[in-house]
Each structure stands twice: as C-alpha cells, then as structure tokens.
C-alpha cells in the first residue's frame, strides 16, 4: 500500500513541474483544478486536520464515502471518530500517535458506518506538517473507498481458512508435493497417520516414509511421472510410522494447483484393515467353494428360486450342466406337484430339511431331501439350498421297515409258540402229573390196606386213574400232532357245505334243543383250509352252542363269515347262557376246563380247536355276556403269511 501512496504524491509534483511555463498564480489555480479533477476521477478524496484548531476539512469524495453532506459534518476530529466503526477507532488513534510522535507516514484502513447503517471500508494515508518549532500543525492526505477490495480480501482469507480447515479435518492424509516428490505441505491427517509433525515433512522427499524393502520405487517413480503428466495414479505403498510400525496405504496422486503453483496432490489412507478383511473374505470364499465342491450333496444358491451359483454335486444329481443351471428356475429340479410346497418353504424361510420328489434333466424322478438357509448377500437375502439324493436311504428305510415288520412277526410268532409251550407245561403239570401221582398214592393205600372192600375200591380207582392218564396222553398226542402238522394239506372249502355236514352229525341234538341255525357266508364263501380242522371247528362251536342253550328263550345260532384286512373271519353267535368272561376268561380255551355244571362239559373241544386254529396261524377269541349269549370269532389267517407259503410248497410237492 505504501508504493501506491507515493505514486499519488509524486503525480502532482511531476505535473507542477511540467506546468511551470504559465504565470504563477494562474498556473497554480489551474494546476489545483487539474489535480482535483484527476483525484475525483480516480475517486480519491483529500482531507486535512488542523491540529491546533481541531478543524477537519474534506473534499467532496470524502463526504461521499461517509454518505453525508457538508452540512451534516461538524468538521472536527471527534465528529469524524464517531462515524468510524467502534472496533476501528483505536486503529486511528494508534496511527495518529505514530505520525505525531515518530513522524511516520500516516496510514489506516477502517470501517465507516454511514447514517443508513451501511458499512464502507476506507483507506487513508497522509503526512504530518511541522512548523519551525517542531510542532506538528497539520495532518493531511488522501482517502479512498476500498470496500470492494477489502471484501475480496476478506473473502480470500475466509476461503483460505476454509481450505485449511478442510485440509486438516479430513481423516485421509493429504500431501502437497513438488514434481520430484518433495513435500510442500501436509495436512493433520498425514501427521496423525505417521506420527511426524508438519515441519518434519516439509522439504523432505517421501523416501523416509517407506517400509524397508517392501516397495518398488521404480514403480513409485513411474506413477509420480504419470501423475505429473496429468493422469491421476493409484498405488499401494508400504509405509512406516515414526515409531517404526509398518502399514499398507493406498495413495492417489494427481496433478493440481496449490496457491497458483502446479503441484502433485496426493491422498493416502491406511488400508491394512481393509486388506486383511479382503484377504479373509477371499479365503472364506475359497473355503466356501472348496466345501461346496467337496460336498456330496448338490448345493445351489438362489434368489427366490432363480439359481445364482451351484456346485458339481448339483450338476451330478440333476444331470444339467452348470450353464443350464445358473440363471434358471431351481423349481424345475423338483417334480411339478411339489413345486408349490417348495415355494412355500422358500417364502417362509424354512430351515428344516424336508422330503420332496426331484426330477432330473432326463425326466426321471428321485427321492430328494432339501434343506435351505437364508443368508444375506449383497444387501439382500438369498437362499443356500442343499439337495440330497436320498433314493438309497429311502430304499434302505424300506428294507429296514420290512425287516422290522418281519422281526415283529417272528417275535409275535415266538411269543405265541412260547405261550403254547407254557400251556403245554401246564397240561403236563396238572393234567398228567395228577393221575400219575394218584396211581402211586393208590398203590400205596392198596398195599397197606387190610380190608378187602377197601382194596377193591382202590383197585377200581387205580383202573380209573390209569384210564384218565391214557386219555390225557392221547389228547396230548393229538395236540402235538396238530402243532407239528402245520403242513397239513389245505383244500378249497365251502363254508356252507361244511356247516351242512356238521348239522347232519349233530341233527339229534339240534332237534332236541329245537335250535334255529342261520348262516351267511356271502362275504367270504370259501376258504383254503384242512377239511378235518374246519369240520372240527364247526362241530365244536355248534355243539357248545347247543349244549348251553338258555331254556328261557328259543335257541338261535348264527354263523357268518367276512373279510377284514385280507383275513377271513368266522363269527359264531348264539343266544345261550353266556359265560362270565371277567371270571372265567383266562380258562376258556384250556384243557379240561368247564364253566357250567353240565353233565356233558368235558372241557376238551375249545382247547383242541384253539390248537388247530393257532397251528395254522389263526386266532380264536370270545365275546360273551351271561344270559345274553356267546360269540366266538375265528380269524383264520391272522398270522399266517408263513402258513400260506407252506401251503404253496406242499401243493408243489
């Protein structure tokens, strides 16, 4: 600003010299007039302050700067001061002091508050004038409105401040570098990143920031060269902090302007974590791929059914190629009737395995187990689905089930055989030991008795016991024959005909009891069975019913056959005396058990037919109510899978 002021001062001097040829007063007035015009054109105002009288005189331009008229100005220093911005008043006082006391050139810049409130910037410069006594009598100079310039200056300062703030507030490191890489400036981010302060950077080349032996400096130099030529470059750089810690940073170098000079502007960030994360991600993806390929099942990654990726397993299972699978609708791998079910599972995000039927490229079907899980992928949920061909497993399951049921039936059979054995033990224990024991007792009594009539009695009882023993042995023999004779030939028998034969055999008893015998074999008219057994069954059932008729009502016996679960069942129902099953149920099919005080009760019939029926894999059961009647059910082939096979064999032989 000082040179400017000099120029103003010199100009009138030069002018005065050039106008020296004219008459002095005239020339002086003329000269003053010219000066005034020039100053006015340059918008420069003149001011004077007469110190002793405190008189202030302004030119027109000064009034304009203050936005007032001559009348509105009192013309003293204080009136002037009052129009100065309060913050700037001290500036004026200081400048006056400098000039007065130290004879310095007067120079101030200050704000003016116009009456309308607007603020203008004013620049004043001037000189003091001293008398011979060395007292300053006057201070005079020029004044200019510098508002526009000042505003630009402020704007500039503010913008630089903004830039600085910005420069330092970004987390990334920013370096301003010369074309050879020398640091001209760095931001706080750079200082923080390395642990060096700003002055430690400036003027140095970046080599000191490098981790030893980890960077290719030729490449770095190349990149800098490229960046200098105007092509922004990115490079990774292994850096070393002041404390020796090393880290990887990513640097971007671009050409730019920095306070008017062409410079390289580099930004850098620490990417150690990112690199590590990227590496982990890569490894994890690698692992996932390996796993996916290694899995025996098929794995497909899909978005609502649309396959995005798959493994070899899925290719193997379905017969489609990878290209055919990827991008296609995964639902077509499932049989059409299962697709809605699968879609439902997809939409509900179900995670439990479930079985469906799969369909291969060639149209063949297979048992398929599907298990899926939703996973987040690129911001949305996708589904990883595993497909397992479970044909083998299903077959095994079926085999196991079959074997299981076979085992069950074997167990069942063994149980029945065991029961029969126990029954046999009972027979031996009670029915055989008893008469034999009696024989021994009687012999003992016979030998010790002296009375003839007693002896005769013992002898008669001995005979009876012998007879009973023989009979029991005979019956046991019969039972054993039945048990052994499983392969007894079977014939196709007509129920109606068998019943007819039996009715003929029992005709006397039927007449005697005046019973009505009804039958309905329409639902199962025939059966493949040994004739003597079926006859024996009908004979026993009918004779039992006839034996225990209830004299209170007319006897009716009904025979009926029907099919149930491919078993043939015979139902023999009477309206006789009935049996209290709660009391006698456990004895009903046992040897020599009778439940009625009836002369003909011998307790052999039911025992015998039970053995016959069971020997051929059947079952006999009873339902009865006292005074209502009894119903006997014969299920001919409840357990007789083996018996049926045996029949086929025996026919073949």
């Amino acid at each position: 600003m000082v040179p400017k002021k000099r120029a103003i001062k010199k100009r009138p001097q030069k002018k005065s010299k050039s106008k020296r040829s004219k008459s002095a007063p005239e020339k002086a007035t003329e000269r003053q007039h010219h000066i005034d015009m020039a100053l006015e054109a340059a918008r420069v105002g003149i001011w004077e302050w007469f110190i002793k009288t405190d008189k202030v005189r302004w030119s027109k331009i000064v009034y304009e700067i203050f936005g007032i008229t001559k009348k509105e100005f009192k013309g003293d220093l204080n009136s002037y001061r009052k129009m100065v911005h309060p913050e700037d008043r001290q500036v004026i006082a200081n400048a006056i002091h400098e000039t007065t006391a130290n004879k310095k050139v007067y120079f101030v810049q200050h704000r003016v508050i116009r009456p309308d409130g607007t603020i203008r910037w004013l620049e004043a410069s001037g000189n003091g004038i001293w008398n011979k006594q060395g007292e300053m009598v006057k201070l005079t100079g020029t004044a200019q409105d510098i508002t526009e310039r000042k505003n630009a200056e402020i704007h500039f300062l503010e913008s630089e401040q903004s830039y600085k703030t910005l420069f330092n507030s970004v987390e990334e490191a920013i370096y301003i570098q010369d074309h050879d890489g020398t640091f001209m400036d760095v931001n706080d981010g750079a200082c923080k990143m390395y642990g060096y302060n700003r002055s430690e950077f400036i003027g140095r080349s970046p080599a000191f920031l490098a981790a030893e032996g980890k960077n290719d400096f030729n490449l770095v130099a190349e990149k800098i060269k490229m960046a200098s030529s105007g092509i922004p470059q990115t490079l990774e750089f292994w850096a070393k902090k002041k404390n020796g810690e090393e880290f990887l940073k990513e640097v971007r170098i671009a050409k730019g302007f920095y306070f008017g000079k062409e410079m390289l502007i580099s930004t850098a960030r620490d990417i150690t974590e990112r690199k590590k994360f990227e590496e982990e991600l890569r490894e994890s993806e690698q692992r996932f791929r390996t796993l996916q390929q290694a899995s025996f099942g098929g794995i497909g990654i899909h978005d609502k059914g649309k396959i995005m990726d798959c493994n070899q397993g899925l290719i193997d299972i379905t017969g489609y190629s990878r290209d055919e699978l990827i991008g296609s609708d995964g639902l077509r791998l499932v049989a059409p009737e299962w697709r809605d079910h699968v879609m439902e599972k997809i939409l509900s995000g179900a995670e439990k395995p479930y079985d469906v039927e799969g369909i291969r490229k060639d149209g063949s079907r297979f048992s398929l187990e599907v298990q899926a899980k939703n996973i987040p992928y690129q911001g949305k949920m996708i589904r990883v689905t595993e497909f397992r061909d479970i044909t083998e497993r299903k077959l095994n399951e079926a085999k196991i089930m079959e074997q299981n049921s076979r085992l069950l039936s074997i167990t069942e059979d063994l149980k029945r055989k065991n029961e029969q054995l126990e029954e046999f033990t009972q027979i031996v224990s009670h029915n055989l030991r008893s008469p034999v024991g009696n024989i021994l007792t009687l012999i003992n009594f016979f030998e010790t008795s002296e009375k003839e009539d007693e002896k005769a009695e013992y002898l008669s009882l001995l005979k009876e016991s012998g007879h009973t023993t023989q009979q029991t042995l005979h019956q046991l023999n019969e039972v054993l024959k039945i048990k052994q004779n499983k392969k007894i030939p079977r014939q196709k028998l007509d129920f109606e005909r068998v019943l007819h034969q039996v009715k003929t055999m029992l005709s006397a008893k039927i007449t005697e009891s005046s019973a009505t015998i009804e039958s309905d074999f329409s639902q199962a008219p025939t059966i493949l069975y040994p004739n003597i057994y079926l006859e024996s069954i009908f004979l026993n059932l009918l004779s039992n019913s006839l034996k225990y008729v209830d004299p209170a009502r007319k006897a009716v016996v009904v025979f009926k056959t029907f099919q149930s679960n491919s078993n043939i069942i015979l139902e023999a129902r009477d309206n006789g005396l009935g049996i209290n099953l709660e009391r006698y149920g456990h004895q009903i099919f046992k040897l020599h058990k009778t439940f009625h005080r009836h002369p003909e009760s011998r307790g052999i019939g039911l025992f015998m037919i039970k053995n016959q029926i069971e020997a051929l894999g059947g079952e006999i059961s009873v339902a009865s109510q006292v005074d209502k009647g009894t119903t006997i059910f014969v299920n001919f082939n409840k357990y007789n899978l083996d018996a049926a096979e045996d029949t086929d064999n025996s026919v073949g032989r």
């Binding site: 126990e422 033990t425 009972q426 224990s429 009670h430 029915n431 030991r433 008893s434 024991g437 009696n438 021994l440 007792t441 009687l442 003992n444 009594f445 007693e454 009695e457 009882l461 009876e464 016991s465 009391r583 004895q587 020599h592 058990k593 009778t594 439940f595 009625h596 005080r597 009760s601 307790g603």
Partner: protein
C-alpha cells in the same frame, strides 16, 4: 385257642385225593369233622352260608388249583374279600400236582396261603400236616 377237634375242608375235584386223605385222617384219628367240596364254587358258597357260625367253619382248607368252574386261584381271590366277614381264622394249604414254578411262586405270594404242597402227598406228610393243624 383252637377247638379240640379241628374242622378240615378238602377242596378238590380229584376223587382219589378226597378218598385217600379222608382215610388217612380217619385212620390217624385226628378229627372226624371233614368237609368235602368238588370245586371252589361249592366251598365258597359254604363259607358264605356259614360265615358267622364259628362252630361250622373249617379251621383248615386243603385247596387244589386245577378244578373246573372255580379253580384254586379264583377261590383265593374271592376268599380275600370274604375273609373279613368270617367268624374264624382259616388257614389254607394249597395242594396241587403242579410243579410249575409259576404256580408255586404265585401261591407263595398269596398271604392267605400258609403252605404249598405238591401232590402226591405221602401219608406221613399228610399226618404231619394234620397233626400240626390239630395241635
């Protein structure tokens, strides 16, 4: 405690056992009060009928297992409920030809059965039992 001559009941469908036991008791002169029943049902109806007559109720019952109609087990079931109404404390000997352990254990498990005796019962054994009973 017991009357001088005890009353003994034989519950068995076995004629031979009935006869030989009767003869042994008579020969040994143990008692002349012997009740004979062919099956459990008959014995039960007798007990019900004479429940309050301690002079007629048996002191000892020789009970067979295998009988038609109501067998020994059924008799025991009914006896258990009948017992509280009886004027006499009756001891039951189970006498059977069965050597089946299931029968033996079942009898031993019944608190109303004093002893399980396997047939044939020798005269000596019978006398011993009856003497014990008469004591």
């Amino acid at each position: 405690m017991q009357p001088k001559t005890p009353i003994i009941a034989l519950v068995d469908d076995d004629k031979v056992f009935q006869l030989t036991t009767l003869r042994t008791i008579q020969a040994a002169n143990l008692t002349d009060k012997i009740l004979q029943f062919e099956n459990g049902e008959e014995a039960l109806s007798f007990l019900k009928q004479h429940a309050t007559e301690s002079d007629n109720l048996p002191d000892y019952i020789f009970l067979d297992i295998n009988m038609p109609f109501v067998d020994g087990w059924m008799f025991l079931d009914d006896f258990a409920t009948l017992k509280t109404g009886l004027k006499k404390n009756i001891s039951i000997y189970m006498v059977s030809s069965s050597i089946d352990p299931r029968d033996v254990n079942r009898a031993r498990g019944n608190k109303n059965v004093s002893e399980y005796i396997i047939k044939p019962v020798s005269r000596e054994k019978l006398i011993e039992l009856l003497k014990r009973a008469a004591a």
